[in-house]
Amino acid sequence: MLTRKTSEPFWWLLFAAGGMVAALLVPVHLLVQGLAVPLGWTSISHARMLALAAQPLVKLYLFALIALPLYHWAHRFRFILEDLGLRGLRTPIALLSYGAAVLGTVATLWVLWRI
């Protein structure tokens, strides 16, 4: 693995970018897709969604929206566990958290690719 000195800034930058994306964009998406649509306050047709998601720029946007906050999660999750005292397991925790975020990134790429 990379040394701490070089790997930490890398993960931290991803964390910071993800946190910013999450703070700026996620509440609206959550409100619309998680509550407004299911509760029937509004609706977005399948056709419109598909047309939108097929645009390259929107794809890029969706990639950032989904992948970056995963690193934000991974970083914080890793430290929650450490702050709860699981210091002996630092390396496995880090591998697991960042590993999951990397997996999520690959999955996002794959999903977006197929639209």
Binding site: R4, G19, M20, A22, A23, L24, L25, V26, P27, V28, H29, L30, L31, V32, Q33, G34, L35, V37, P38, L39, T42, I44, H46, A47, R48, M49, L50, A53, L62, L65, I66, P69, L70, H72, W73, H75, R76, F77, F79, I80, D83, L84, G85, R87, G88, R90, G104, A107, T108, V111, L112, R114, I115
Partner: protein, 135 residues
């Protein structure tokens, strides 16, 4: 890497219990703030599944939307929204502290930086809403 501490005889070494974050309100709020990332990530996974259903045709997509109507999912989303808002608020408050902005030689007071980020958030949210609800 954990560096083991050499303990000297005679001294009493206190141990911090894993429940330290229950000791005061600030610690607790810190835990909630960190925990918000879990809800945000879960929501994004749900969103990703929705996108995954998209190319499978209107039927699959509608079925998926139907599951989201279940009360359990609604509760989850309400909670997730609360955490997401909490994240946004804490995030903007903290970035004002971290990001030093200079105008010429003078440092812009953090309060202004925080104010500006909240304003940015509002604008982005309105634009995004308009775009999503447009038709």
């Amino acid at each position: 890497m954990t560096v083991p501490r050499v303990e000297r005889p005679g001294l009493y070494y206190p141990k911090l219990p894993a429940t330290w974050w229950l000791r005061n309100a600030n610690y607790f709020r810190f835990m909630l703030r960190e925990l918000s990332s879990v809800f945000i990530a879960l929501f994004l996974v749900v969103f990703l599944i929705q996108l995954h259903r998209l190319p499978q045709g209107p039927g699959a997509y509608a079925a998926y939307l139907e599951t989201l109507r279940a009360p359990g999912w609604i509760i989850f989303h309400v909670l997730a929204l609360a955490f997401a808002l909490y994240h946004s608020v804490t995030w903007f408050n903290l970035t004002g502290v971290v990001q030093v902005v200079h105008l010429g030689e003078r440092q812009v007071p953090p309060r202004l930086v925080v104010g500006a980020s909240f304003a940015l958030w509002a604008v982005v949210s309105v634009v995004l809403l308009w775009f999503l609800l447009r038709g």
